[in-house]
Amino acid sequence: MADELVKILDGNTFVVSDSRGDIEASLDDPTGLFTFDTRFLSRWILTIDGHRLNALSTDDLQYFEARFFLVPGTGTVYIDAKMSVIRQRAVGDGFSETISIINHDEKPVDVSVRLEAGCDFADLFEVKDKLEKKGKYYTRVDGNQLVLGYERDTYRRETAISAGDGAHIDEHGITYDVTIPPKGEWSTHLKVVTSMVGLGELRSSTKNGRSDRRARPNMERDLDKWLADAPRLECDWPSLHRTYHRSLVDLAALRFSPVTEGRHSLPAAGLPWFMTIFGRDSIFTSLQALPFAPELAAKTLHVLGGRQGTRVDDFRDEDPGRILHEMRYGEMTAFEERPHSPYFGCADATPLYVVLLDEYERWTGDTKLVRELEFEARAALNWIDEYADLMGNGYISYKRRNEETGLENQCWKDSWDSISNHAGEIPGFPRATCELQGYAYDAKMRGARLARDIWHDPEFAEKLEKDAAALKRRFNRDFWVEDGEYFALALDPDGKQVDALASNVGHLLWSGIVDKSKARAIARHLMSPRLFSGWGVRTLAEGEGRFNPIGYHVGTVWPFDNSFIAWGLRRYGFKDEAATIAAGILDAATFFDGRLPEAFGGYDRTETKYPVQYPTSCSPQAWSTGAPLLLLSTMLGLQPSGEHLVVDPALPQQIGRIELLDIPGRWGRVDAFGRGRVDVAKKTTKRRRPAASA
């Protein structure tokens, strides 16, 4: 009965079970209770008189809470309806669970209720890569507690399960032998608490503290406040409403406080593999959410600035000024079998850090933070020239120094085969992908504004602008594929063009590095049937050597990618094209009940009629959750201008009337209104393909 998985989460603690609430994890599947990249419960099975239960229904009450309605009976035919079982579970610092059994009969009933518990303490990396453990397990019965533990040298992790009164505890679980009166009810409360033993107060902290009964009202209040603080959306299209609400709730769920950053919470990347800080993901998500929840950006800037690289460390691919790629807390990181403490192998987060700082100030007017982070922003700008130009040609390129466990592709398309030429050949290293140059250009331009207006350093501003202008000139010459009229995906180690056509050209529009004269050709490519599927822009164009509509970065459609492409189209004045992309992605969201997955298949919309979810994609995922937000603000043409918010809507027809009320910013709160007028069917070029013969 491994049907639909039920996931509840809070920050980086999450529980994934089957629809009965049971957990029965094998090494390589990501079910169980996880916190800080470690599985703290891999077995959690409820039986009554030795029999498993059947699920009637499941309620996801809140993102952090679920309720399972169950009945006894082993067969699929006979269900004993004389008893109902309700399991209610809330995640917190671990989780708490209440089990209630209702006797519908007119006679009393004796039952033996048992919860079997066990844990493999797997590091998520081990789950992902199917690796074996190196330490020792132990179990201990401690009063009314069952303690499961794991130890390797000084490394210890424990799960303590506290049972209610009347429990018999053994090393494999907890049993209650109870008599339930006629028409009566019995219930018990269990608490599962995780700990990283020996770390003193450095323990798993969620946004709202411990998983005791107090935590729940706090979490509800926190979510209510989060939703109340966000702008209110009124519109004629009900599914957009649902998508908007879903996005806000999921973003709230994905916020977490890194173990050592008690004061700040920022978005984790995505469930189940990436419930941790990612430099790139946190920055992109904060940019998407700026008009809705600007405090996310402030926290991201704080935390990433505080963890910015300061030294040269080849194992971690760290350099001074570099913004981290990924932080992990599991056993393999602890023993330096993985470099994620943190790992810095990422070439885009550093320029994007400066982009976010500037965009944040434009929206909020928070010059104090910009002054506070001046050192970090300058170090990031310095990294671009001093450490990232591996080929000495004035372009950011990447090549890992940790050749064993470092990342090969240090751009957002980080799978092994994501960067290839038209023939499908994969270039050597270093690689200079095109969007990195766009981000560098944008970082320099924005850095110049901050230097002039806020740091009062006009000389530095001038130098940055001069560098940016030179970069733009070089880029438009070196990356431009003359006969195809687009920008090459990358330059190889010899400076030769890696000439595949990919969605990266959309990010170039966003960065502003594209010469005006070349922008129309890029917009045309983005809306052409080779790239635009009808739902969105594919990561790689049809007809490229490695194109595959279900290839992770070589043909699927990524909602996050599309939200920035739409922003880029707007930046160059292609309003209707941006609206077309927004309409496609928001249409797709309705098929996922408002929760866009990380990626979906790049099949033509007319072929599949619905978007096909990529098999192992993460959901919810922060930057997919942020995509509808950025699409909304892009369609409405929201743009800060001095102390004002400019609204310049260009909306697809099907949206009808739309109002976004109480948009926060340096202007206080303002409203935006619009009406759908763009006929999106006109903006895509029709596919010409021979008619199928019978």
Partner: protein
């Protein structure tokens, strides 16, 4: 003089830009064979100082570890975050302060 104290002594003359937004006290309880040394580090918006104190005292963060590990971290041969996750270095109190502070140490592959 040990590596941690010597390192801090050397940088205490100049304000450290990496710690410009950081203030607080860190008590290092350093075990060395059979004695424990208490080194109290003060960070005040970039100014860093260290003094040996005779007995433990209140600090924003208290850090417990062996001398060999502390010196390896101060010399850039070991990583503080991994040591904390491993349980080889214990932290009580404001662990973020330790994470901020350890950034001033050199890296294993810094040009020397």
């Amino acid at each position: 003089m040990n590596t941690l104290e010597r390192f801090i002594g050397e940088i205490s003359a100049e304000p450290q830009p990496l710690l410009a937004n950081t203030s607080g006290t860190l008590l290092f309880e350093i075990r060395d064979d059979n004695e424990t040394v208490f080194a109290l580090v003060t960070v005040d918006k970039g100014r860093v100082g260290v003094e040996e104190v005779p007995a433990p005292r209140d600090a924003d963060a208290t850090i417990r570890a062996d001398r060999a590990l502390v010196d390896a971290i101060a010399a850039g041969r070991a990583n503080a975050m991994a040591a904390v996750l491993r349980g080889e270095m214990g932290v009580e109190g404001d662990s973020e302060l330790l994470m901020d502070f350890q950034r001033i140490f050199p890296g294993p592959d810094d040009p020397r």
